[in-house]
């Protein structure tokens, strides 16, 4: 019941006014010129109310997914669902694996995401280096393409892609899907990596060259170590996008044993009775964990890289 009340707490009006009062002294420390006029306290309270509203909006579907995943069928069928499961169970997870080939699907997703991320990085890093260091018509055209390619509706690309892959006998093939994922993650990878290369001062490379290091040696022992964190972040991001991807997998793969996790998840939706909501929530939760963990690691670097790529090009 307590939890239900907290859900109501999502309403901005029901913020305890004390919440703001507790914080004000610290704020005063930060900016000594400001005084705690009643008006300022009111502003603070409003700010906390708004923040709590945002927190509630962002959190409540997530909490509900979490809650549903651990509920036994009896509670899922209840007319008055509660936030906290009364008799939490792991049965939904067992059921989920029994109903759909989740483990195999996760394996397919892992393979497609890992291989395509690795290939995308291997292909994109040299090109990004050139785009960052050489300014000519080609590099401008390539950068332009990176931007333009974001604007296509996938449907205009997917039909020809489907026909091309069909001609190569790569429809309903893991290799075909991986090829598409590689090309699909290249624009973003190029964008990020070009930003990271620009952040490596050219002077460092020139100094190494003056010391007699060859071009390759300069790249390997000076540039590469400085780029490594950016490369890792970009690779992980490519992995996450491929892991999460749905549209290409839906169109390009037909055999059930090749399908990736997001496509298999939608199979739960077919004949969705109330009792099946538990396994659905449980498998959705499991499918999210890898992306979430990796994203938590790289988030700061990704936002930084996106802006770096944007500011300088």
């Amino acid at each position: 019941m307590n939890a239900t009340e907290r859900a109501d707490g999502s309403h901005p009006r029901s913020v305890p006014p004390g919440a703001a009062d507790v914080r004000t002294p610290r704020r005063r420390k930060g900016s000594p010129r400001r005084h705690l006029t009643p008006r300022r306290t009111a502003t603070r309270t409003g700010q906390y109310a708004a923040l709590l509203g945002y927190l509630a909006f962002l959190a409540f579907p997530l909490l509900w997914l979490l809650s549903t995943a651990f509920k036994p069928p009896r509670e899922l069928g209840s007319l008055h669902p509660t936030w906290i499961p009364e008799a939490p169970t792991l049965d939904n997870f067992r059921q989920a694996f029994a109903q759909q080939p989740l483990a195999a699907a996760a394996g397919n997703s892992l393979l497609a995401a890992a291989v395509s991320a690795l290939l995308a990085i291997l292909l994109a890093t040299p090109m990004a280096y050139v785009l960052a260091r050489v300014r000519n018509r080609l590099s401008r055209a390539a950068t332009g393409w990176v931007v333009i390619s974001q604007a296509f509706p996938l449907v205009l690309v997917i039909i020809p892609l489907f026909l091309i892959l069909k001609g190569l006998h790569l429809v309903d093939s893991r290799i075909g899907l991986i090829m598409v994922y590689v090309v699909w993650s290249l624009p973003f990878a190029l964008w990020m990596l070009t930003g990271y290369v620009r952040a490596v001062p050219r002077e460092l490379e020139e100094a190494a060259a003056m010391d007699g290091a060859g071009r390759l040696r300069t790249l390997v022992s000076v540039t590469a170590p400085l780029l490594a964190p950016g490369i890792v972040a970009t690779a992980l991001f490519a992995f996450i996008t491929a892991w999460n991807e749905f549209f290409f997998a839906l169109v390009l793969l037909k055999s059930p044993e090749k399908q990736t996790l997001p496509v298999v998840l939608t199979h739960f939706l077919g004949a969705e009775g109330v009792a099946d909501l538990g396994p659905l929530a449980a498998s959705a939760l499991l499918a999210t964990l890898p992306s979430l963990l990796l994203f938590a690691v790289i988030q700061r670097r990704i936002t930084g890289g996106m802006l770096a790529g944007a500011v300088k090009s």
Binding site: Y48, P61, P153, I164, V180, L277
Partner: protein
């Protein structure tokens, strides 16, 4: 400025003149591995797709595909179902992009303040960004579920269930589109927030202090200091969000699959069905082209209008 570039100048031309032919060749070797896949699987399909829209290409047909000129375009022009879908797509894209931006701006401004719970909001803001779209869709289906969903239960607790129990948000003719728009806002807001926040952190703090010394209130400081600095980022973010939203597929596919009665059938869903359910490749490509055309015109108007606004100031 001159000092910083001066040391670079003398070395570059000398080294460049001696090694230019070789270096250019080296650059090609670095660029080709990424350029070839982009040409074959991204530029190529796009041109191919444009070509397809002038043909009667169908899936699994034995006759040769014929060039039909503008027939698809005149068909499309009279296809009221498609234009209904297009209208829904525009409502969806505006309905998601505008609140997404305003809410994200509000949250970014709050997160920029020194508030308690800021870490929690930041953490929560990452999660929807990392989640697979399919999972976001599944999660909100659980929230909207007529019997087992938390939304109806919360409304009942608040005494707002005037419409009767068990309202099915996603299958109601009037509620389906607003319901999926809320999900779109939820899913896209975090990324926009993080980008805007990064932009806010680049606003020089001295300007703010100077403005508040001059007695400028919060609103005035926002208008004269924060907004001008944030404007380019805001412009880019809203333009990209609009494109992404207009082209989005997985979220609505999972939530409603275009139903009820086509009320949420976005153009992408429409074209997908045309191509992969009915096999009309040529016609679906024409739809894709129409989408690109309208989006390009809208974006051009938006960007030109905004940039002009910049000059006037």
């Amino acid at each position: 400025m001159t000092l910083a570039t001066a040391p670079r100048r003398p070395t570059a031309p000398v080294a460049g003149r001696a090694t230019r032919p070789r270096r250019d060749l080296g650059a090609w070797f670095l660029v080709l591995p990424a350029l070839l896949p982009i040409l074959v699987l991204s530029v190529g399909p796009l041109l191919y797709g444009i070509g397809l829209s002038f043909t009667d290409a169908q899936s699994g047909r034995t006759q040769a595909t014929r060039f039909v000129g503008l027939l698809n375009f005149s068909d499309l022009f009279q296809d009221s179902l498609f234009w209904d879908s297009f209208r829904i797509g525009l409502i969806w894209a505006f309905g998601v992009t505008v609140p997404q931006f305003l809410l994200a701006l509000g949250l970014a401004l709050l997160l920029h303040l020194d508030l308690r719970l800021r870490w929690l909001a930041r953490a929560l803001a990452i999660i929807p960004w990392a989640m697979p779209e399919v999972v976001v869709g599944i999660m909100w289906r659980l929230v909207y579920h007529p019997d087992a969903g938390i939304l109806n239960e919360t409304l009942r607790d608040l005494g707002l269930s005037g419409t009767g129990d068990g309202r099915d948000w996603l299958s109601g003719l009037a509620t389906a589109l607003p319901a999926v728009i809320v999900v779109g806002v939820w899913a896209g807001m975090p990324q926009t927030t993080v980008t805007l926040l990064a932009g806010l952190q680049n606003v020089p703090i001295e300007l703010h202090e100077a403005a508040s010394m001059d007695g400028a209130g919060a609103w005035r400081r926002f208008r004269t200091v924060t907004w001008p600095a944030l404007r380019p980022i805001a412009l880019a973010v809203t333009a990209l969000n609009f494109i992404w939203n207009f082209n989005s597929f997985a979220l609505v596919f999972v939530l409603t699959d275009g139903g009820p009665g086509g009320r949420t059938r976005l153009p992408m869903l429409f074209a997908y069905e045309e191509a992969f359910r009915y096999g009309q490749f040529g016609y679906a490509a024409t739809m894709g082209l129409a989408m690109v055309a309208v989006i390009s015109v809208l974006l051009a108007l938006y960007l030109v209008g905004r940039l002009k606004g910049d000059d006037d100031r």
